[in-house]
């Protein structure tokens, strides 16, 4: 816990990066002496050239012989979720819109959005050859509803009243209340969805509360082949009847005969494995590790070939979130003062060497959302003024940061101002300690040359709650902001917590300032999914766990706007205007200082496979751990031998 040093993890990471870099120096022989593709086998006995090897999110699986996705605690991101399962609706992250997957088309609603006709994709079969039909969907509904031992049961029944069969390929779904976004309730927007249609002919003979679903009967293009009893690897094999799968119908035949999900453990080992061509796709690593990989192996690249390398389209952004029910953070003037006390350029460089896209809005600056909200709202942001008439927006943030990076010798920084704004963000708040001081004094703080005192006369110090073992960007950002606030004159420390303790503190309001994503996630122009979380109805007393609105932020006007958004479907023309109004309201109240989109360093290795999505080949985002990865995997091509 310090305000002037990088977190331990970064120190260790940098040390390890240096050690790896030094030790690996001059070891290019390893790649130069590889045997021919055809001769190579993986250590699980499959031809390497026919096997796509993917890094397993969250490392090894503790209960590898349980794939019952309805049991809480059972992990399905060993490949079932990404390659073998399918949802009614999935997400096209490049377009920012949902697509039908097991469904043949998006749901057709009645006038008040309570009854839906859902046509199912025809010609699909399960991996054991049995046809997929409406009976499977109806059975899944009944199974979840009638098995209270499944944790999802009560939550599901609170939303879905019934599912009935219309014909072999159509079901009618009735909801318990008007639900304009049924596809969100039963399909993926971000990562996945708990509603998985199961094969009736298998599950009807089992108790779903205890059934292990291992090996699973699958619906997508791959089926279970083999795994390690210790959960370090899982092998999936392309079905011979891949034509009868969702992927077969939507994309075509996947080239990889096998997909191997495996855990290499620590980041250092994952980096070594990719440098040695033992793995094709990695999940998150640090920018320092990416640097090593790029220098070690020319076949490895990240989203961009040059600066900023990382993908900047993650659906959640990072910033400083306040518990607005606690003084002095219950006053917008305090929050605004703290925002203006931050030098965002400095914070960006301290966090990820400037490889971040800034966002002043409560949604991430993804390509789709930048075009829909950030850029169209730039004019409004420039004219926006605080109560005292001060205009806080700085549209030249990206231009200045670009110049600074260029002057420091960073290659690949655009010269053009618009290109810089596209890359680094439309702008952010000014760094203006003078105005910050004025706002703090207006909020009742005092400072007579010594430390700042709160309105109640006690010293003003800040404790930022930050992740300890996950979300490296949030960790580093917490330390960068702590440094900025300390320099401004408010002693700030960072308290890092493991995931379990962190989320307990966040949900129960046991924090004042937190470095994480809060409600600031979105991927489609329809902002309802996470914006709903700002509604005042979800505010709970501190100490009582809160399901949403962990900021405990009460804004009547904002809640009214959310209610309006709730009442319309995702394709309504009012979606974007209402979303814009919500974002304006959140800027005015500033319950969270939104700062940067999440930069994902997720490298790929083109030694064996090519046509990965990238900035130049943007057919999907690099979300290897989402349910839509199967569509990406099906588009990969074998590298020329």
């Amino acid at each position: 816990m310090t305000t002037t040093q990088f977190p331990k993890r970064r120190g260790r990471s940098t040390l390890m990066a240096m050690a790896l870099a030094i030790t690996l120096g001059g070891t290019m022989l390893t790649t130069a002496t590889m045997p021919s593709f055809a001769q190579q086998m993986t250590d699980v006995g499959t031809p390497r050239a026919e096997t796509l090897i993917v890094d397993m999110l969250n490392a090894r699986v503790g209960n590898p012989t349980n794939m019952n996705m309805y049991q809480q605690g059972v992990t399905i991101n060993q490949g079932y979720h990404q390659m073998a399962g399918a949802l009614l609706y999935d997400i096209d992250t490049a377009k920012g819109s949902q697509i039908p997957d097991l469904a043949a088309e998006m749901p057709v609603a009645n006038a008040d959005f309570t009854v839906f006709k859902v046509a199912l994709r025809q010609g699909l079969t399960w991996s054991d050859g049995q046809p997929f039909s409406a009976d499977d969907v109806v059975f899944t509904d009944q199974m979840i509803r009638n098995t209270p031992a499944l944790s999802y049961s009560s939550a599901y029944a609170a939303q879905i009243a019934s599912v009935t069969k219309v014909d072999a390929n159509t079901v009618e779904i009735t909801t318990t209340k008007p639900t304009p976004r049924l596809a969100i309730v039963l399909g993926s927007v971000i990562y996945g969805n708990p509603f998985h249609v199961v094969p009736k002919h298998v599950w009807e003979k089992e108790d779903p509360a205890t059934f292990t679903n291992f090996p699973p009967v699958t619906i997508s293009a791959y089926k279970y082949k083999d795994s390690d009893p210790n959960g370090t690897w899982f092998l999936w094999e392309k079905r011979q009847d891949w034509q009868n799968s969702d992927v077969g119908q939507i994309v075509g035949e996947p080239a990889a005969k096998y997909v191997l999900f495996r855990s290499y453990g620590t980041e250092e080992r994952r980096v070594l494995a990719m440098a040695a061509n033992d793995i094709d796709i990695l999940t998150d690593i640090s920018p320092e590790s990416l640097d090593i990989l790029r220098n070690q192996n020319p076949k490895i690249h990240a989203w961009f070939n040059d600066f900023p390398y990382a993908n900047l389209d993650d659906p959640c952004e990072r910033g400083m979130h306040f518990n607005t029910s606690k003084a002095p953070y219950d006053d917008a003037k305090t929050r605004w003062a703290l925002a203006l006390a931050i030098n965002a350029e400095q914070a960006s460089i301290a966090t990820f060497s400037g490889m971040l896209r800034a966002s002043p809005l409560a949604i991430p600056p993804t390509t789709v959302l930048m075009d829909t909200y950030h850029k169209p709202m730039a004019q409004w942001l420039a004219e926006f003024a605080l109560e005292d008439g001060y205009k806080p927006f700085d549209p030249d943030y990206a231009v200045r940061l670009g110049e600074r990076l260029r002057s420091e010798g960073v290659a690949g920084i655009p010269e053009d101002a618009e290109a810089l704004r596209n890359l680094l963000g439309v702008g952010w708040w000014k760094h203006d300690p003078e105005e910050a001081t004025k706002l703090l004094k207006a909020a009742g703080f005092t400072n007579d040359g010594g430390p700042w005192l709160k309105p109640d006369g006690t010293p003003f110090t800040i404790n930022i709650l930050a992740p300890a073992d996950f979300e490296v960007e949030s960790q580093r950002l917490a330390f960068a902001v702590a440094n900025e606030w300390t320099q401004f004159g408010v002693p700030t420390q960072v308290q890092q917590m493991q995931a379990g303790a962190f989320f307990t503190a966040e949900n129960t309001g046991d924090y004042e300032v937190g470095s994480y994503w809060g409600s600031s996630c979105a991927i489609t122009p329809d902002l309802f999914v996470r914006m709903e979380g700002w509604h005042k109805d979800y505010v709970r007393d501190n100490g009582t766990p809160s399901s949403s609105n962990q900021a405990r932020y009460v804004d009547d006007e904002l809640s009214a706007l959310i209610d309006k958004l709730r009442a319309i479907p995702a394709d309504d023309p009012q979606i974007v205007p209402l979303g814009t109004d919500i974002l304006k309201e959140l800027v005015q109240g500033l319950p969270a200082i939104e700062m940067f989109g999440t930069s994902k360093f997720v490298p790929v290795n083109e030694t064996y496979w090519t046509n990965y999505p990238s900035a130049e080949n943007y057919y999907e985002g690099p979300w290897w751990w989402w349910s839509n990865f199967k569509f990406i995997a099906a588009k990969l091509k074998p590298a020329a031998q």
Binding site: T27, A158, G265, D278, N507
Partner: protein, 332 residues
């Protein structure tokens, strides 16, 4: 009679230590900042599941019921002690629900035992042998070389050493696997060689680090014993060096080493945390690590209780057999 009183006293202390430890283990995680239900909910939310607040509240209650976290602390404590004493059941893992904790421990235990028992014994035998010779003939070239190696290896931070071994033997020279990849049918030759092959590098990293400590500690003992009067007497009697070393020095020098070895074996139930994390080795250390990160009360209690019981048992066994090894204690 004295011996019986000695044994009874040790057994009472043993039972009290175990009950006290189990009680502390029950309460400490529950008084900590992690609520496993909130941790699980956050996991669900971060994975994109859309549920409105009412649905999440329903899920929260359902998870609390499922995990057995409803009711007062005392109710939970009573049920816990009853379960442990009567059935040795630590309940289901909360992070890998519904897999029973004992099943996870049962799966991990052979890996940890295989790795740590073999590496500890190898390091113990080698270290004591080299240390004994170094202490007995400190000026010989071979003693100096071996001691020099031990002194050089001992202070290397384990993390760096393990990483270095991986880079050298798994990346530059692809001799050993980068990560644990076990294959083969149960009890097949393929499985056995696969296990040995995969465990070699983790075991070597432990042997290298621990070896130095044994060398240094037993050398100090030997050097001191060499000057004792009973050794001088043996030398004056004209006994050979080998006989003096094996009959006079070794039995005295080895006593503290046996005590420490027993404690080391007891501590195996902790797993070797860093080794297992670094090599992605599926033992108890990784289980404990997972339990701490996920706020998995049951798994944490299961693994640490086992460790406490093992250390307490090892200490008790040493206390009971010490009189057989050391006549001074027998006659006290």
């Amino acid at each position: 009679m004295n011996l019986l009183r000695y044994i009874a006293g040790r057994l009472v202390v043993y039972v009290l230590v175990v009950i006290f430890a189990l009680t502390v283990l029950f309460f400490v995680p529950r008084l900590g900042p992690t609520d496993p239900v909130e941790a699980m909910l956050a996991k669900v939310a971060s994975q994109g599941a859309y549920m409105d607040a009412a649905q999440v509240d329903a899920l929260r209650q359902s998870l609390a019921d499922t995990f057995g976290l409803d009711g007062s602390l005392w109710d939970q404590y009573g049920a816990f002690i009853k379960r442990i004493v009567l059935t040795a059941d630590f309940g289901p893992s909360l992070s890998m629900y519904p897999t029973p904790v004992m099943e996870l421990i049962r799966n991990a235990l052979p890996w940890t035992f295989g790795l740590l028992l073999s590496s500890t014994l190898i390091a113990w035998v080698l270290g004591n042998f080299v240390g004994l010779l170094s202490g007995w003939k400190p000026n010989s070239t071979s003693s100096r070389v071996m001691e020099g190696i031990a002194i050089c290896l001992y202070p290397i931070p384990y993390y760096i050493l393990a990483l270095l071994l991986s880079i050298l033997f798994s990346y530059i020279w692809k001799i050993f696997p980068l990560t644990t990849t076990i294959r083969g049918a149960p009890w097949s030759w393929e499985l056995i060689t696969s296990v040995v092959w995969n465990s070699f590098l983790p075991a070597m990293s432990i042997v290298i680090v621990v070896f130095g400590w044994w060398v240094i500690s037993v050398k100090a003992q030997t050097t001191a014993l060499k000057e004792e009067e009973f050794v001088r007497y043996a030398r004056l009697k004209g006994l050979s060096d080998g006989r003096i070393l094996s009959r006079y020095v070794l039995p005295n020098a080895i006593l503290p080493q046996i005590t420490f070895l027993a404690l080391q074996i007891g501590l195996m139930f902790n797993g070797s945390l860093i080794t297992e994390i670094l090599f992605d080795y599926p033992g108890l250390g990784l289980l404990i690590y997972t339990a701490v990160l996920q706020g998995d009360f049951n798994l944490l209690m299961g693994t640490i209780s086992l460790s406490v019981i093992a250390v307490a048992t090892a200490t008790m066994i040493i206390d009971l057999i010490y009189p057989l090894l050391d006549p001074r204690i027998r006659h006290r």
